[in-house]
Symmetry: C2
Subunit: 334 residues, 2 copies
DNA sequence: GTGAAAGCGCTAACAG
DNA sequence: CTGTTAGCGCTTTCAC
């Protein structure tokens, strides 16, 4: 391992100067700087992160809490975050709160404590990772950015405009002639579910269609709920099927597509299907889903920006909140 | 931040004793140990990793190189690895060699260099992450475990039994009465592709069926190749369709299922479909794919075990090679 | 603009 | 079995 001392010797300067070249370029004369930089390159010197960290109290690592890396939305979020971290020399530590066999609430809290003690420069939390315990963010001591809707405004956050997106999807489906639309929501204890639901139902109301509670089914955002919803649809409405069904997540919609296929129900022939979300995995789903959502990578970039401004001290005011508009992608299912 | 000194004071011992309790439990008398442990608990003391690392020369982090976290196989590999690392107090640093817009070969090499310099305790590389440059592993200086087929045997490796799996799938399809089976392979420059291909074609040969080169299509393992393969199938064989098609990866198979559906071709009515791989995402694909493969989590665990034995020095002999048998999952497509 | 020196928190000889 | 002590490699006052 080549250390700073060797670089100093090779460049014929003191070790302090080398450090300055690395950390405060401007404090060193251009001539010297160039010499030092050549020595660094020739020796292939890389500062020891542990030593740097020990000295400065920084770790150059951030933690990322997500509920489930298996969900396409979070996979893409993580990929975006990692790419961004990589280009800034930050380590990204991923924590899945929903580890197999565990209880996500406990895991969320456990990881939160662990992360704080362990020491990272910053934390990015994706909505459901702190399911039901968002209040914990009020007392968190690490700079944090939240991805999702955070009613308590405890930390900086960036989210999709769930109301507007669902509203627009509602308007779109109505424009296609649908009036009886089944609606599979997210879980009611989850904020974003209610926001999306409100947006969707407002669209119906604004178009003069009454809200029919019997057409609403509370799902979980997860695949099994897609299957359940189809079963519900058939048991509850087989004699008078709605002409379309809107899912609050693409995972439910995908599973539902499978369930519908299992039963020989054609999409969109027998029923139109639309869903929330905008993830790459949808590109290979057939029939191609009409969906609305935000590119997870946009959320990643935004969150990291918010976080970096905190970590670097560039911003230290009250928590900020960014709301991103969604994109509607029309395909053959609706 | 509570440090070791404070723990020592609270427990009324020297700081060395505390360190010993942490690192060499047995060198301290039970009575003292208990006192120290209580002090640690009461103060919520957590050792500073940077300081530990600086002193010991270890980082307590391992790097994981994969080609694409968006591919279900790698997603699950990563999840398994993270879970395992977590329980051992290791940080898992993920490196996607195939970052968007990049050239994976360069990225692989770039990351490899970076990882070596950066300093980690160990490295886990998943096959295609070092695509075409596996020879680089011969000169790698970090303890490394490879997941996949590694002909040069440069480091410890764990892999699926690709030959046997494909052979068994071939036998299975034959047992279902198929004789003309289209075969969409992986890319020929990739070792595992040829192994799977050989296994599959051996099964046909053993059953007395001649190998028909015109029924073989070279794919890429990636989704677009699934679409391409269907196009090829229809252009090349529409007048005399094979009764089944076997894909060397589930991503190609899934895309092909979509492409077939787009064209109104029924599965398995018009053609049976089978594929390699055993990932959770397949559970929601309809029709349900008949596949054969190994649970990625088993590969994860195995790789981490190999690696840990190296890192800890428990093993230091020549590179080992573990081959895992696959599981056949029969569903409705074949 | 440059250098000498102190110390971040911890571990492991070494001595007792 | 326990304690004293010397750094791990780096950054940053503080003098020059």
């Amino acid at each position: 391992m080549v250390k700073i001392q060797e670089v100093a010797e090779r460049a014929g300067v003191s070790l302090t100067t080398v450090s300055h070249v690395i950390n405060h370029r401007d404090r060193v004369s251009p001539a010297l700087r160039e010499r030092v930089e050549r020595a660094i390159a020739e020796l292939g010197y890389i500062p020891n992160r542990q030593a740097q960290g020990l000295r400065t109290g920084r770790t150059n690592a951030i933690a990322i809490m997500i509920p489930d890396i298996g969900a396409p939305f979070y996979t893409e979020l993580v990929r975006g975050l990692q790419t961004a971290c990589d280009s800034e020399g930050l380590d990204a530590l991923i924590y899945n709160t929903d580890v197999p066999g565990g209880h996500s609430e406990d895991h969320g809290l456990h990881y939160l404590r662990m992360i704080e003690k362990r020491g990272v420069d910053g934390l990015i939390v994706a909505d459901a990772a702190l399911h039901r315990i968002q209040h914990e963010l009020l007392k968190v001591t690490v700079p944090t950015a939240f991805i999702g809707n955070l009613p308590n405004g405890a930390v900086d956050s960036i989210e999709q405009d769930g109301f507007d997106s669902a509203y627009r999807m509602g308007k779109y489906l109505i424009s296609k002639g649908h009036t009886r639309i089944a609606h599979v929501t997210g879980p009611s204890f989850f904020n974003m579910s209610m926001i999306r639901q409100a947006g969707f139902e407002h669209a119906l109301a604004d178009a003069g269609h009454p809200i029919d509670d019997s057409l609403r089914y509370e799902g979980t955002f997860l695949p099994p709920a897609g299957h359940d919803a189809v079963r519900w649809l058939l048991e509850r409405h087989s004699n008078n099927m709605p002409t379309a069904i809107f899912f609050a997540s693409s995972r439910m919609a995908r599973a539902a597509l499978a369930a519908l296929a299992d039963r020989g129900i054609r999409v969109p022939g027998d029923i139109a299907v639309a869903s929330y979300d905008l993830t790459k995995d949808l590109e290979d789903v057939r029939p191609r889903l009409t969906t609305i959502g935000v590119d997870p990578a946009d959320l990643s970039r935004g969150a990291l920006k918010l976080l970096n401004e905190r970590v670097s001290g560039a911003y230290s005011g009250p928590p900020r909140r960014i709301v991103l508009p969604a994109t509607l992608e029309v395909h053959m299912t609706a």
